[in-house]
């Protein structure tokens, strides 16, 4: 199952808060697709997800400053 979240319009700390709360809903094997802006969110969301034991599968530019990060719960 893949969940999706768009935090491009959010600001600190809600970019991280919303992503973290969505990650906590994942069952093993599930994925979360996060749309976020470059800068602070792009630098820290993948890092904190990795640190919390999730797998970052992909970081890809979408359009403008928006990036897509795919994170899976192992």
């Amino acid at each position: 199952m893949t969940r999706k979240i768009d935090v491009t319009r959010d600001h600190c700390p809600m970019t991280f808060v919303k992503t973290k709360l969505e990650l906590e809903k994942l069952a093993p094997g599930d994925e979360l697709e996060v749309l976020l802006s470059q800068g602070e969110p792009l630098e820290n969301v993948p890092r904190s997800a990795t640190e919390a034991g999730y797998d970052v599968l992909e970081i890809a530019p979408v359009s403008g400053s928006t990036h897509r990060v795919r994170i899976a719960r192992p």
Partner: protein, 181 residues
Amino acid sequence: MSSQVMDAVRREIAQGPEPAESPKKTKKLSIICFSGDFDKAVAAFTLASGAAAVNYEVSMFFTFWGLNLVKNRKGRRFTGKGPAARLFNWLQGGPANLPLSRLNFGGFSPWLMTRLMRKRNVATLNELVEAAKALGVGFYACEMSMNILGITAGDFVDEVRGVIGVPTFLELSRDGETLFI
């Protein structure tokens, strides 16, 4: 010494000591919420929820004016033990009466700032508090300040995990970072 034992000793010397297992350090942030000001509460809950979201273990210790942030009644209420405490608690109010530390204009500015926060898509104080609760931030109330104000654990939101003193707070914050707001 048998040759087998000697071989084992030689192997051990050649390999060097076993690498020490690197201890997994828990990232920890403790915030002493002394101020009951609206803007400082925004700062405290922004730091708390942001840190919890990036895997910090976060504790918030509410003391003196900061106790107003976690009262379960949002508005003014005559509560506490004795007339002086009751009047004092009414004057302070609850989370809905937090003043801005500057340019409060009789309580108009916190309302205006909340509107601006919504308009700019920035989390409001209420949203930050809810985020901190959802992420499991530990709320603790200062026993000594509660005694002065004559209030009890029943005056706080359910998320307040305990009424504690300095030694317990120091134990909670040990080996982490501590902020005083």
